[in-house]
């Protein structure tokens, strides 16, 4: 039998090669494109022309004056906050309700995760039909007498924004439910048994045990929800196309429009950098705050 040192050295070599490969892929497909985009953001690159000139911070100054970009940022940020709250609340509720071991609950868990399995484009198209004046939602609302006329879900800026929020929350609730479910199943049962003996109610158990013990899952779930919505493109494109009148146009949609319709590739790259920085600030801030909460526990 080979000495342990040689076996470990061989294992290190294999792991090192895999790690090096992962690092190369990370550099090639993430870091290098970001750096190239940063470089392009300082130029007046037009998508149709192979050459460009250095323009310094002109694109970033233009972004500060761009009212359409401001509208897209406002909508995207508001959507991110709203969807994160709703998706996490819904996900935690689903997880608590589905935290059982029977077969029927395992089936229900699969169904709860279904929104996450469907592609964003399909989800957007399906909900676009369901929310139309003759769609399923209005059919149910009018048939049950909850409304007398079909609701214009996608036809006014305010309702279209609300509809977008609800659809994206539905999609993300599948993900958050799974994350919280995994966290719930790691909570020691003894905590609940001990609290029951001490006379704690269900509400007290949820507040003092469940909600606190899923803090790490909350951190992950909240941050991923925020990042996902900040770079949202597919669901909105299929659901509303960014309308009506660009009321639901996300930052990502605006970047595509600027880069590939106005051909302003340099300016689009600058906006993409703005989105990157915004996402990083939001993610880091939220992570810092929520991790502090975990430590406090």
């Amino acid at each position: 039998m080979k000495p342990l040192r040689i076996r470990l050295a061989r294992l290190d070599t294999g792991l090192g090669a895999v790690a090096a490969l992962a690092l190369v892929l990370y550099l090639m497909f993430l870091i290098v494109p970001v750096l190239l985009s940063l470089k392009t953001s300082f130029t007046n690159q037009n998508i149709l022309f192979p050459t460009s000139s250095f323009v310094g911070l002109a694109n970033y100054r233009a972004a500060l004056r761009d009212t359409q970009l401001r509208s897209s940022i406002e909508f995207t940020l508001a959507l991110a906050v709203a969807v994160t709250i709703v998706a996490n609340a819904a996900g935690l509720c689903f997880a608590v309700l589905l935290n059982r071991t029977s077969l029927s609950y395992r089936v229900l868990r699969t169904l709860a995760f279904l929104p996450q399995v469907i592609s964003g484009i399909i989800a957007g198209f399906v909900w676009s039909w369901m929310l139309s004046p003759t769609g399923l939602v209005n059919h149910i609302l009018t048939a049950t007498g909850l409304v007398s006329q079909p609701v214009n879900w996608l036809g006014t800026p305010q309702l279209a924004q609300l509809s977008a929020g609800l659809v994206v929350s539905w999609v993300l609730s599948g993900f958050t439910a799974v994350v919280y479910l995994a966290a719930l199943q790691n909570i020691p049962r003894e905590l609940y048994e001990a609290s029951s003996i001490d006379g704690a109610s269900s509400r007290q158990q949820f507040r003092m045990i469940t909600f606190r013990m899923v803090a790490p899952a909350t951190t992950i779930s909240v941050v991923i929800c925020l990042i996902t919505v900040l770079k949202l493109y597919d669901i909105i494109t299929a659901l509303t196309g960014g309308g009506p009148a660009f009321a639901t146009r996300s930052i990502a949609m605006y970047i595509i429009s600027v880069g590939f319709s106005n051909d302003a590739y340099g300016y689009a790259s600058a906006i993409a950098m703005v989105l990157l920085v915004l996402t990083a600030i939001v993610a880091l801030s939220v992570t810092t705050v929520l991790r502090r909460r975990e430590v406090d526990l």
Partner: protein
């Protein structure tokens, strides 16, 4: 050990870079021993099916033996954006179907067809600074106003020629309990049809060179005459002449609604002619968008087949294929019957295609063939009068915005800002 890891990583990187090398169309230099493959950007519609493309390509490919035509089907509805993403990926197609050539000509990405060939084969050229980049095989009128004759009779309305008569008809229809206008505004291009009609008739009808003057900065969307024309769209909204929740109704649903008699009028491009069910052929009429004084103004748009990339490895073969495809009357048959396209091939009158078409088609086609004031359809032209960059989308969005704001002048000012942004990057 670490040197072996780095060596392994370097080899893996080289393999990955080799796998990500450029496409065959870029690397082919026309060496005589190599078979040439030309990529052809196409798209699918209910009438332009996969079978249609397969058959039409096979027929045209006979003119270029030894050349393989490889389709690149656009997965989106925005061919220009898709073409530009392919350009960025180094995969700009050799042949591009129904794009907006004016978006590419300043960068020299397209090669024009010979003028002599265009003049010999087509009724009208569709040139950009004197050159044709897409064979003008067909045309559209955008918009026309289709109307339900039975509903008009019920309400005592008659096809209008002036704006005042149009508004009077709308009032009569509404009083009779009929939805005056079907819009389908969830899809922004459909939402903009009344705005396109109003600006084409009133602004371009008065000054056919208005778009060129806009490029020169001599006129603006915020000018009083343009705002007055755009206000007509807002008036239709405030008077509730569109279907309920018009911005929630998709374009596809609007066709079904109008065909089912749920509204009396439908402003739409002439492609709607391909969607009139045979049972309604005698019940659907058409009239041009009404002008203030009743003069006849036709918002015209020449379409066509494919453009040829200036980067193609075999330009003679590409042009031969394009010319063969464009002059094949069988290809136009599908466009005429399914898309309401008006044929523009010289020596090939409509009757020669042997198609059974609706009375509304013949009425519409008469506007193409007769002598009248044809102007470029605002936001639909593909020649020198094409709008720059993303302004077409901004125009459509302005139409949707007029459902929730009465600030028509503000929306037109926004269009001017959008125009400035679009032209700043070119």
């Amino acid at each position: 050990m670490y040197r072996r890891c780095l060596a392994g990583a370097a080899i893996a990187s080289l393999l990955l870079l080799a796998a990500c090398s450029s496409s065959p169309s870029q690397s082919a230099t026309g060496a005589s021993s190599k078979k040439v493959t030309l990529t052809y950007l196409t798209f699918l519609t209910p009438d332009l099916t996969a079978k249609f493309w397969s058959n039409s390509i096979a027929a045209a490919a006979k003119s270029v033996p030894g050349v393989t035509i490889k389709q690149d089907v656009d997965p989106t509805t925005d061919r220009d954006t898709y073409a530009k993403t392919l350009l960025q990926a180094g995969q700009f197609p050799d042949l591009l179907e129904s794009i907006t050539p004016s978006l590419y000509t300043s960068a020299g990405l397209l090669t024009p067809f010979p003028s002599s060939w265009i003049n010999a084969n087509f009724i009208l050229p569709n040139d950009i600074k004197g050159k044709d980049y897409i064979p003008p095989t067909n045309s559209q009128i955008i918009p026309l106003v289709y109307y339900n004759k039975a509903l008009f009779t019920k309400a005592g309305a008659t096809p209008p020629t002036t704006w005042a008569e149009f508004m009077a008809d709308c009032a009569k229809l509404k009083a009779a309990g009929v939805v005056p206008i079907e819009l389908g505004g969830h899809d922004s291009f459909a939402a903009a049809m009344p705005l396109t009609g109003a600006l084409s008739a009133d602004v371009l009808g008065s000054d056919p060179n208005w778009i060129q003057q806009r490029y020169a900065g001599a006129v603006k969307f915020a000018d009083p005459n343009v705002v007055a024309a755009a206000t007509k769209m807002r008036t239709l909204v405030t008077d509730n002449y569109f279907e309920p929740d018009a911005l929630s109704v998709s374009y596809a649903q609007s066709i079904l609604n109008f065909n089912a008699g749920k509204a009396a009028m439908y402003p739409m491009g002439s492609w709607y002619l391909g969607s009139i069910p045979k049972s309604e052929w005698n019940n659907i009429g058409v009239f041009p968008w009404p002008t203030n004084n009743g003069s006849l103004v036709i918002p015209f748009s020449l379409g066509g087949s494919m453009a040829v990339s200036s980067k193609t490895p075999d330009a003679p073969a590409a042009f031969k294929f394009a010319e063969s495809w464009s002059l094949n009357p069988d290809n136009l048959k599908s466009l005429i019957s399914g898309d309401g396209a008006f044929p523009m091939l010289k020596g090939k009158p409509l009757a020669s295609y042997g198609l059974s078409l609706s009375p509304a088609f013949y009425s519409s086609y008469s506007y193409v063939t007769s002598t009248n004031t044809k102007i470029s359809s605002m936001s639909w032209a593909t020649n020198d009068n094409a709008l720059p960059g993303n302004v077409t989308s901004d125009f459509d969005a302005a139409a949707q915005a007029l459902f929730s704001t009465s600030n028509v002048a503000g929306q037109m000012q926004q269009l001017d800002q959008d125009w400035a942004s679009a032209t700043a990057s070119s």
